[in-house]
Structures are given as structure tokens and as C-alpha cells.
């Protein structure tokens, strides 16, 4: 008899112990849009988040590569996902009393664009999106002021150079990118092979307007076979800066969403940037 009590206690405790019912979740608006100074093209990506219970849409040809999983050694495909777009939304941009309606790309669900709007520095733009399901989203961005790269200005680079630029008004920070041009001779084919890639991304705060090239790991290129570098410095408004600063850390699920999402009622970003660039050659 007494041995029957123990399973009964376990059963009772299991019943009263806890609530393991997962929370229910339905999709919410998800937007991506970064306006660029002096560009006449705008693309607003309008989509929705998804519950973990939903099956995500995949396109078969987006399975690009395979990896070995560390724990089970099974082959694991790398998947590139399409934008989970929402069709039929009303999307418009407003500035200085003018309202511009953006049209959906018929070939890409959820992509709304216009190629006739001129985005000037220091102007404030408002985004209005009305989802077919009724959600209304509003957001605002002020485009950072124009600025220029002041150093290095020589056509050769060394590891003692310092990258410098003038401050940009309304910028919350800067994104520095290096586009490297690579060329080498393929001895078997007797041809010159050209390649390029972005690398060396670095995000700095608004009070930083110079960086030693060493910190950009320029040495990689000095000793590599790159021919030249194009240096991009993008001044980001607060929305775009926070989106980059917090949003890239995928390993910390507890980073507060309100720290970097500045769209009331939606996930994502409505931000802006002003870009300065300079092409320089590597000292060989």
C-alpha cells in the first residue's frame, strides 16, 4: 500500500506543478526601410513576423550550402529566406506637406518602391503604412547631414594612416565599410581574375570622426593581393544606428527590442543614411 503512495504523490505534484503551456502569438507588422541621401530610389519592405508554430515560406532554390552540425555531425542546409512580404498594403512617404505613394513591385511581394523621390540631407520624412488587415504604422526619420572623408587623401595607404571625416548633422553613428578589389593572375588559365567583397564592417558612435587604419585591420589588405580599397562611411540616423548596433547580436535574445526598434507597433526599422566614399590604392 505504502509503495502506491509514492507514484500518487509524483502524479499529484506533476499535475499541480506548473504551467508549461506556451504563449500564443500572432504575426505583427515587420518593416525594413533605410532612405539614402541623394538617392532617388526608395524601397520599403513591408512584411509580417511569424509564430514559431507557423511554417515559414521557403523557395527551393534558396538552399545554398551545407554545414556539418557540431553536435550530431549531420548535414545541415543553410537556408536563405525570402522576405515574408505582405501584399496590398498602402505605403506612403511624407515630407514638407508632400505625400508620395509607393507602389508594390508585382514580382516581389511586400516590396514597395518609388524612383522619383529625391532624398536630401537634413530633411525629416514620415512613413505611413496601412496593412490589409487594418494595422496602421507610422514612423519618422531625419536624414543625416552631408559630410566628407578628409583623410587619407593620398592614393597610397599605409598602416599608419588615419581615416578621418567631417561630422554629419543628426548622425547617431557611422558605419565604416571597406570594399576591396582583388586581382590576381591565374597561371593555369593565364588570365587576370578580378573579385571584390565588402569586409571590415565597423560601427562607431557619433562622437567618433576618425579611426586608425590599424583598427580597420588594413594590414590584411596591405599584405594581401588587393589592388585598391573603396572606403565607405555611412552616417546613420538613430533608427538605423540602433538597428545595426543591437540587431546584429543574434546571440542575445534578451536585448530589449525598445532599445533599437523605433517603430511604434512594428518590428524593424525606418531609418536613413548619408554616405561618403573614397577610393584609395594599397601600398605594395
Amino acid at each position: 500500500m505504502r509503495f502506491r503512495i509514492i507514484p500518487a504523490i509524483i502524479l499529484l505534484l506533476s499535475v499541480i506543478a506548473c504551467d508549461t503551456t506556451p504563449e500564443t502569438y500572432e504575426g505583427e507588422p515587420n518593416i525594413y526601410a533605410v532612405l539614402t541621401t541623394d538617392s532617388s530610389f526608395a524601397c520599403i519592405m513591408v512584411g509580417k513576423t511569424t509564430s514559431i508554430d507557423d511554417t515559414l515560406t521557403l523557395e527551393p532554390d534558396t538552399i545554398m550550402d551545407t554545414f556539418w552540425r557540431d553536435d550530431t555531425f549531420e548535414v545541415w542546409p543553410e537556408i536563405v529566406f525570402p522576405w515574408n512580404g505582405v501584399s496590398g498594403a498602402e505605403v506612403s512617404l511624407k515630407q514638407g506637406g508632400h505625400r508620395y505613394v509607393l507602389l508594390e513591385d508585382p514580382d516581389s511581394a511586400g516590396y514597395y518602391g518609388s524612383d522619383s523621390i529625391q532624398f536630401s540631407a537634413r530633411k525629416t520624412w514620415e512613413l505611413e503604412v496601412t496593412y490589409p488587415s487594418g494595422e496602421e504604422i507610422e514612423a519618422q526619420t531625419t536624414i543625416p547631414g552631408n559630410f566628407e572623408i578628409t583623410s587619407p587623401l593620398v592614393d597610397t595607404l599605409s598602416d599608419t594612416d588615419v581615416l578621418e571625416w567631417t561630422p554629419s548633422a543628426h548622425a547617431a553613428g557611422y558605419l565604416i565599410e571597406l570594399l576591396q578589389w582583388l586581382s590576381w593572375e591565374d597561371e593555369e588559365e593565364d588570365t587576370l581574375v578580378v573579385d571584390s567583397s565588402f569586409d571590415c564592417l565597423m560601427l562607431v558612435q557619433a562622437d567618433t570622426t576618425s579611426l586608425p587604419m590599424q583598427e580597420l585591420e588594413l594590414f590584411d589588405y596591405l599584405w594581401a593581393w588587393a589592388d585598391s580599397l573603396i572606403i565607405f562611411v555611412s552616417a546613420l540616423d538613430t533608427n538605423a544606428y540602433d538597428y545595426r548596433y543591437y540587431g546584429e547580436d543574434r546571440w542575445d535574445p534578451d536585448i530589449r527590442v525598445e532599445d533599437y526598434m523605433h517603430i511604434e507597433g512594428a518590428w524593424g526599422v525606418f531609418g536613413s543614411q548619408t554616405v561618403a566614399c573614397s577610393q584609395r590604392y594599397v601600398l605594395r
Binding site: C18, E23, G247, D252
Partner: protein
Amino acid sequence: MRKGIIWAVLFLTEFLFAAETGMVAGFVREAESGEFLSYVNVYLADKSMGTATNKQGYYVLSRVPEGKHTLIVSMIGYREERLEIDVRADKRLRRDFYLKPQPLGMEPVEVTAERARFEHEVDVGVKRMDFTEMRQIPGFVEQDLFRSLAMLPGVVSVSDFTSALYIRGGTMDQNLILLDGVTVYNPYHLMGFFSTFILESLKGAELYTGGYPARYGGAISSVLDVEMKAGNSERIAGYGEIGLLTSKLVVEGPLPWGAKGSWLAAGRRTYIDAITWTLDKIFNPDFSIYLPYHFYDLQAKVNWDASERSRFTLSGFFGDDVLSFKEEEEVDLDFRWGNGTLGLRWRYLFTPQLFSLLGFNATRYRLDTEVIERDEPDFEETSKKIEEYTYGLESGVGELGLQWGLTWFSGPGHTVEFGVESKVIETMNFMEEGWARYDKDKRNQPDTSWDTVRVNQRDTFWLAAVYLQDKWEPGPFWVIETGVRGEYFSNGNYWRASPRLGIKRRLTADWAIKAGAGLYYQYLYVPYPRDEMMLKIPIQFFQQWMGAAERYPPLKSTLFTLGTEHLFPKDMSASVEFYYKDLRNLREADLMGGEGPTTDTASITLGQGYSYGAELLLKRGYSWVGYSYSVTRYRFGDEDWFFPVHDSRHNLNLSFALPLGKKGWTLTSAWVFSSGFPFTAQIGWYQHVNEEGEIDWMPISGRRGEVRYPPYHRLDAGFTKSFRLFKRFDAEFYIQVLNVYARRNVLFYDYEIDENGVTQREAVPMLPVPIPSFGIRARL
């Protein structure tokens, strides 16, 4: 007004009757080892008067009527001592006792230590554990004090990978851990798997989960007061143990050259490094299983009885963990962390009624980490260049303190304690990153390099305290403990006063009710991590201690407890306690969200919390059943209230030791059940466009702590077999198994999207399989 007069009369009565009475006082020790015995019942044969020894084994029976009496000294497990005494008016008798151990069951036990404590201590929220109780809970690799304490109601351990204790809703930094009165800040080994104390060198531990006396301060949730053995003052003795991954040796004996006193030295070392190295060499697997990790502990204590009145004690504890390896000259990793304490005590009896304890304390915890990564650039095969990235982290806390306490046995059942304390505390956090590029073999002459100090914080604080505590038994059925503690903390100029109150009323000879209340402050803390997973995985070495500051007042708790306890025949007891705890000025920080550890107080969010619950403990001998119901909620900043990671609604612990036959076999077992711990579930995905324009799915978290893991339960069991080693030494062989039925308790869930676009939730278990360990130990 009327009550005030009654109290005044009672006080006056003590003095009026003083003239016709005498006093008897002394120490009670164990005969074989000379160890002082606490909570021994000392009473007159006619039971008209009685008391219990205190923690130092000292008793005072004052106001004993003039004439001849029989004094009885009794404790379970020891032969009762009776002594005829002749008490003269105004005379003080010093009578010390040496109790001889007696096997249980030989005589009926009338008066136990449990009863002495029951009759003379308020004991609100106090749990005691002696060496035998600690030893019976099977452990990982070996038995462990903290693992044993986690079997008590009200104490929660959140994962198999950490021995950190969460007590009545508090976090691990809210526990004051003392070893012989000296604070130990981070007493964990193997990144938190088990605690640093060598069990066999300990006499016992007292865990105050609430309502602790005014002599303790600096923690808002609990006090764990661990006491080392004094050492055998009668003969040289020893203890040795050889286990699967650790070995230890304890040696003790009387002081040489005729000096009165004793000494004890204990050491322990793991040989995980040697075992894994050997296995690696023998089996030569595809990937190395060599783990270059070890830890060691050294504990020592010397007691010198300079006179009958004066005793000096010097005790120290040193332990380090070392993880150090070089991987084919690509990575150098050097982790070292550990504790060191030193305590010097001078106990002096001014009179048999006035007891002084002067102490000097030094303690430190430090973590020292250096990681060096080397790389040969692909495009530089001919130039033989090396690129080297260096990451260094140092963190620590230390203190130097002086304390002096007076204990005055002012009358029958009346003890007054007064004390002052002063300590200088230093916290330090330093983080540095560097990079260099150099020709091979010319590390000291880099072509180019940079070095950046990310964090460089060093703070010094001064903490001063004064306390007054009064324990009074105004009649045979009452015990009243009142106290107040005043504290000053230099950083922010904080003056705080903490009143304490504990009352026990015995309703019958075996049944009592008790209540306690108190206010507690804490000046040093470790922020609650925003990423709660940090509390569940073995990284307890990485604790960043910070001090209260101007904008961040000391942590504060207010605790109310109500309880009842009952003693049954055959050494059985039962207690039930209800509590409510209010927590203020809690801290939260995103410790790992940025580039590394943060000491930026701007990143800290203040919060509050509360916890309430009920605890039940049924105990018989060394077996017990504990159950607790508790609710804990925290709130930081403007966020909603949430259940923190250690909120365990129901907790059931069963622990028993069962002799099997007469051939020396004993079965020890512990079963723990906890309702599921809270976690923040992932409920969805949102799309993020990264810097390169690629679209990723990123997790959306649900409400914080809203969902719970499945219930946690685990059975640990062990067998011991007693035998005579070389026909000379008492020895035991033991084998124990953790997680006997291979329960896969969930550590966390991992979410991934598979190739069909379906989210897969994978439960990552704690200890997924039974973990056996065995060893042999002997008394020498």
C-alpha cells in the same frame, strides 16, 4: 504602561535574587577529539534550571540556589555525564565536561540536542546540518556542502551545473557565506559544479534563511555560517579519501611541546587533468579529450589555549581553479580563479559571565583570465608573420576587517551580545584587449600593435557596523531575541539601522510557535543578469561584485516569518514556517550583451521583488522530508513583474540513510522534485536585414519568465560499506550514482528552422545520463 512595569519587575527580580545564589559555567567537549560541542543540554537533575551550550560549546548556569545539586550534561550520541556540585553563594564554579560517544540505541534518549535547541533558541528560519548529514547526500564526484543544503526546504538550486543556492526568493549574491566567521565571496569550484569547502574538515553549518540575529549583516537573504573543526586535541588522527577524480587528506592533532590546543590541516586536489591526459594517450581518439583543468584546496586551523580563559585561533582557507592550455600554438588560454581567507580570533573570558571575541579577517576572491589567439595570415606563408590577439580579464573582491564582540550571560536565560565591526572592501574589474603583428620568434618587436583598456575599475569602500542583541527567556516557555544593527557604508554615505526580532512560545513541552521579523541591508552585490541563462550554466567563477553608490542605494529586504515546531519521540521533529519577504533596490544588468563585463553603473536598472511561501520539514535522525511552496516575483525599471529563474512553486526533497543489515552496508538516497523553473520562451520570428542585405529570421521572446520548463526531478543514491582496513583503520568504500533513472531535466530549449521551414524546438538536457562515482575513505 502596565506591560512596561511587568518587564521592569522581571529585570529587577534577577538582581534581587542574585545574592543568595551561585554560578556554574564551563565548556563541553567531545572526549575523543576535544572538539567543542554546541547545543548540549546542561541542567540540574531536578530540572528546575537548565541551559544549552552556545556555538563555542560554552554554558553558564547562573542564579543556581546555594547547596548541593546534580548537574547533568546530555546530548544524543554521547554518554550522559552527571556531576555532583556544591554551589556557594556568590561563588563561581568552573566545570568542563568531556562527553564520550555512545552508539545510538543503547539507551533511551531523553534529552537531545534538538530538544536543547528547541527549548533555548528562537530559531526562526534556521537550518542546521552537521557533518554526518552533509555526508549522506550523494554528490557529483564527491559529497558537497551546498548540494546537501539544497535538499532543505526553502533552498533552491536551479540546475545540475551549479551549486549556487537561491534562498527564499533571493539570488546567490544575497547569501552571506562565512567560514569561521570570515566572508567567502565566491566559494565554487569547477565553474560552479560544487563548493570549495572540504567536507571532512567541517564541524557543521548553520543556514539562517530568515530572521538572523543582529550580529550578522551585509546580506538580505540568508547567512550560511560554516565552522571548521578545531582539530583533535587528544591525539593525532587523520582522514584520507581516494575518489574517482579527487583525493583528500585531513590531519589533526594536539599542539606539540606541551602547549594546550589543537591543529588541523586539510588538502584536496582533483586529477581531472591527469585522468583525461592518460585516457587521451591510451585511446588516442579523433578529438582530444584532455581537459587541462584542476583545482585544489588547503584548509588549516590552529587553536592555542593560552590559559583557561584565553584561546587563540588562526584559520585559513586557500583554493584555486586552474584551466590552462595551449592548442598547437594557436590559442593560449589561462583561467585562474580562487578564494583565500585568513582569520585570527582571540577568545577571552573576562569572567565566567563575560565572554569576548576579537577577530581579524582577511579574504579575497580573484579571477584572472588571459586568452591569446595567434594566426598566420593565409597570404603570408613566406613572410612568417604572426598576428596575435590578446584578451585579458581580471576581476576580484577583497576585504580586511576587524571585529570585536562581547557576550554577557547576565542571568538565567538572559544573554546580551554587543559588537563592533569595521572592514575595508575593494572591488576590481579590469579588461584589456590587444593586437600585434610580428615576425615569428620576434614577439617582443612587433611591426605594429594596439592595446586598449576597455574596463578599469577599482573601488574601495569602508563598512562599519555596531550591534546589540539580547536573548531572554523570561520563563520556561518563552524565548525572546531582540536586536538592532547599525551600519555605515562610505560609498554614498549610507547610514542604516536594522531592527531584528524573534519570539518563541512553547505551548506544551513539545510544541512551540515562533515568529520573526527583521530589516536587512546589503552593500555589495552581483547584478541580476538580464540573460538569465547565465545563472543556469557553470560560470559562477565569473561574478562581478559591485558596491552601493550614490544613485544606487543598498539592497534592502524586510522579512516576516511565522512558524511552529513539534518534537516527537524517537528523535523526530516537524516544523512549518510561513514567510513574506519584500526586496528593494535590486539590480539588473546586461552583463554579457556588450563587448564584455560591464562596470558602468549607467547600465544598471534598479528593481524590486517579493517572495512568500510555506516550508515544511519532517525530520527523524539523519533522514528528512522537506516541502516548500513559494512564489517569487521581480520587477526592474518600468517593466512588468516577472517570475525570476529561481522561482520554484513546489519543491519536495526526500533524504534518508538506511542501514542494510549488520554487515556495514548503508543506503543513502536523495530525491528532489521541483515544479518547472520559469523561462522566457521564444514565441515567434521577425525578419532582420543585416549589413550585407541578407534577410535573417530573428527570435521574438514572449513575456519574461512566463512559461515554465517541465518539472525537475532527480534521484541520487549511494551505498557505503564499512570495513577495517589493514585490521587497523575504520574505512568505508562508497559508490554513488547521480540521476539514477536518467531523467533528462531541461536546461534550455534551442529553436531552429529546418529545411522545411518548420521551427524545431530541441530540449538541451542537464545531466542526461546516470553519473557514477566511487572511492574509498579511511580514518587514520
